[in-house]
Symmetry: C2
Subunit: 333 residues, 2 copies
DNA sequence: TTGAAAGCGCTAACAA
DNA sequence: TTGTTAGCGCTTTCAA
C-alpha cells in the first residue's frame, strides 16, 4: 500500500474549501451549495481523487464490508448461495470478505474473530456445523449475523432456509407412493441441526406414520466417493429408495449403482436435496428437492443490510418455498 | 461497527507501559524486555484485547487483504483455483475480498478501483477477459497483480498458467490418432487471449501440419445449454472430434449427443480442457486436459505474497504441468 | 528497552 | 452553507 497520491486534503486545497465540505460532497450530503458542489466535483475528477476506504472505515466505524463464512469453496451449493448474496451486496455497495472453514488451520471461532477484527459490518454464515462456541461468539458481538441455508439449534440467530421437514416428507412420500417401502436417508454431518433436528426427525416420523420399522440412517457421507462407496451398503440393507442431502453424494450413489449394472430408479430411487448443476447433468437426471439457493442468499443478504442499518426486521426466520422436481431417478407413478 | 470496547490504550494503561510497547508486543517486535512482554501479554489476554485491523491498516499502510476477481462464482473451474489461493492466503494470514464480474452493474475497471480503494495489498485476476483498460488500470497502480489461469496479450502481467498450445495440440493429436479427421474447437470468449492467441492458434497450426482443411471454430459457447444447442451444428458440420474449453459446455454437447441416440466416442470424440468434478461424474466420463487448478491458484497466491513483500521474483510467467487424462469420451487407440 | 508524539486519511460534532 | 477541530486506533520515527 503505497503512500496515497491524492487525498481529501489536496482536493480541499485545490477547490478552496475545507476537508469537511469535500467529505460532504463525497458522501452525497445535501448541505452543500450547488456551485460549491460542482467546483469540488470538478476538482475530484481532475485530480482523480479516490477516497481511502480504510480511513473512512476508521473514522466512520463502518467498513461497508461483510464477512461470508462458507464450509467449502468448491461446492456448488454454497457457490449458488454466494451468488445471491453477492448480487445484493453489490446493489448495496458492500464488499465481501470470504472465509472458508474447510482448512483446519483455523477453527470457526477464529475465523469469526478474524472477520470481526477487520471490522466487518455484518456476517453471513453458511455452514450447518454450528457449535455452541460459534453461536456464543456471534451473540457476544453487536455485529449482525444471518444464517443462510442453516439454522442454530435454539433458532436464536436470524436465518433463511426452506422447510426441511416438509420437503423431506414430500420426497419420502413420492418414493413411498412409487412402492418403495425400505427407505433410507443419507446426510453429511450428523450433528448439523438441519439434519438432526429436521431431516432426520422428519424421516423418523415418516416411518412411524407409515408403519415402516426398518430405519436406515447414513451419516458422514460428504462427497462423491463417500456416496460411491456407500452404495454397496445400501444394497446390503435392501434399501430401495433414498433421500440424499448432498448432490455429489447422490451422484456417487447413482454412478456406483450404474457401474454395478443396476437400474435406476427401478432398483433404487434417489432424491437429492440440493439441485445444483451436477444433479441435472448426470443421466438419469436426479429427482431433486429444489432449494431456491440464489434467492436464499439474496434474501439473507437483504436481511443483513437491514440489520446493519439498525432497521427493525419483523421476521428473522424466513422459509422460502422449495419445489420437488421429478426427474428420472424416481418412477413418479 | 460499535465503539470498540478495549483498545491498545487500555492495555497500555493497565500494563503500565506506553502504547508503543503494546504495539511492539502485538507485532512480535523483539525489542521488548521479556518481563515487559509477559506483563503486556497477560493484560492482553485478561482484557481480551483484539487489535483493530482497520486502524492497523491506516497506520501501517498494509491491510493484509488481497482482492480476488473472478468471472463467476458458480463455476467449479474458478472455485478450484480459488481454493488454492485461499489456502495459501490463510497460511500467510491474508484475508480475501472476492469480487465477481458476472453482474454487469460494474465493469472490470470499476471493480478494480473499488478493490484499490479498500487498499488491498494485492490482486489476483482470473478472468480471461482482459480488456486494455484493465491492463492499464493494473499498470497505473503500484499494487501487485497476478493472473491465474489467464494471460494478457503482451504478457506484461505476472501469470500462472499451463502451456495451452501444447496441451491442445496433444489433445487434437489424440483424436487424430483415433482416426478423427474433422476436428473442431469450442471456446467461450473468442477475444480471450488464452483462446485467440493460444488455443485457436494451436488448432489452426494443427490443421495445417496435418493437411486438414476444414476449420471448425465455435465461439461464445459459455455454458451447458450453449453446448447442448451447439451439438446439432456439429452434426451438420460433420465434426467427429472436438476440444471444448469449458466443462459444462462439453457436458452439454455430450448429453445432447446421447439424447439424440448417438454414440460417444464412436460418433464424436470429446476432450474438455478443465477437468472439474462435473467432467468426471457424467457417463461416459470425459477425457480431459487436466489443469492443476488448485496448484495454479496456490502458486499464483505465493507469487503475490512475494510481490507484496517487495521480493524479487525471477520467473513471473509460470507454466505448470498438465495431464491429458484419457477417459471414455475418446477411443484412445 | 522504552516512551512521547506525530500522523495515517477521513468523519462528524460543533460553531460560525 | 461552510469551516474548525477533535478524534477513530493504531504504527513508527525519534529521542531518551
Amino acid at each position: 500500500m503505497r503512500k496515497q497520491e491524492v487525498t481529501i486534503y489536496d482536493v480541499a486545497r485545490e477547490a478552496k474549501v475545507s476537508m469537511a465540505t469535500v467529505s460532504r460532497v463525497v458522501n452525497g450530503n445535501s448541505n452543500v451549495r450547488k456551485e460549491t458542489r460542482e467546483r469540488v466535483e470538478e476538482v475530484i475528477k481532475r485530480l482523480n481523487y479516490q477516497p481511502n476506504a480504510v480511513a473512512q472505515g476508521l473514522a466512520s466505524k463502518k467498513t461497508t464490508t461483510v464477512g461470508l463464512i462458507v464450509p467449502e469453496l468448491t461446492n456448488l451449493y454454497f457457490a449458488e448461495l454466494s451468488k445471491g448474496i453477492d448480487d445484493i451486496a453489490l446493489l448495496y455497495k458492500y464488499n465481501i470478505i470470504i472465509s472458508s472453514i474447510e482448512n483446519r488451520l483455523m477453527k470457526e471461532d477464529q475465523v469469526i474473530q478474524s472477520l470481526l477484527n477487520k471490522q466487518v459490518d455484518g456476517v453471513i454464515y453458511m455452514s450447518n456445523r454450528l457449535p455452541k462456541e460459534v453461536v456464543d461468539a456471534f451473540q457476544r458481538t453487536n455485529t449482525p449475523v444471518v444464517l443462510a441455508g442453516t439454522k442454530d439449534s435454539r433458532e436464536e440467530l436470524p436465518s433463511v432456509t426452506i422447510d426441511y421437514k416438509k420437503a423431506d416428507t414430500e420426497a419420502l412420500n413420492l418414493m413411498f407412493n412409487d412402492g418403495k417401502k425400505n427407505l433410507g436417508i443419507v446426510v453429511g454431518d450428523e450433528d448439523a441441526i438441519v439434519n438432526s433436528d429436521n431431516r432426520i426427525l422428519a424421516y423418523k416420523k415418516f416411518l412411524k406414520d407409515h408403519n415402516l420399522t426398518e430405519e436406515h440412517i447414513y451419516t458422514n457421507v460428504h462427497d462423491y466417493s463417500d456416496g460411491y462407496n456407500l452404495y454397496s451398503q445400501l444394497v446390503k440393507d435392501g434399501v430401495d429408495g433414498v433421500i440424499v442431502t448432498r448432490d455429489s453424494s447422490a451422484v456417487g450413489i447413482l454412478n456406483s449403482a450404474m457401474d454395478a449394472g443396476k437400474k435406476i430408479p427401478e432398483d433404487l430411487e434417489i432424491v437429492t436435496a440440493s439441485a445444483t448443476q451436477i444433479a441435472s447433468v448426470v443421466r438419469p437426471a436426479l429427482t431433486t428437492i429444489k432449494q431456491p439457493l440464489y434467492d436464499m442468499g439474496a434474501v439473507a443478504m437483504r436481511m443483513l443490510t437491514k440489520l446493519m442499518d439498525g432497521e427493525e426486521v419483523d421476521d428473522t426466520h424466513i422459509e422460502l418455498p422449495y419445489e420437488l422436481v421429478k426427474k428420472q431417478s424416481t418412477l413418479n407413478q
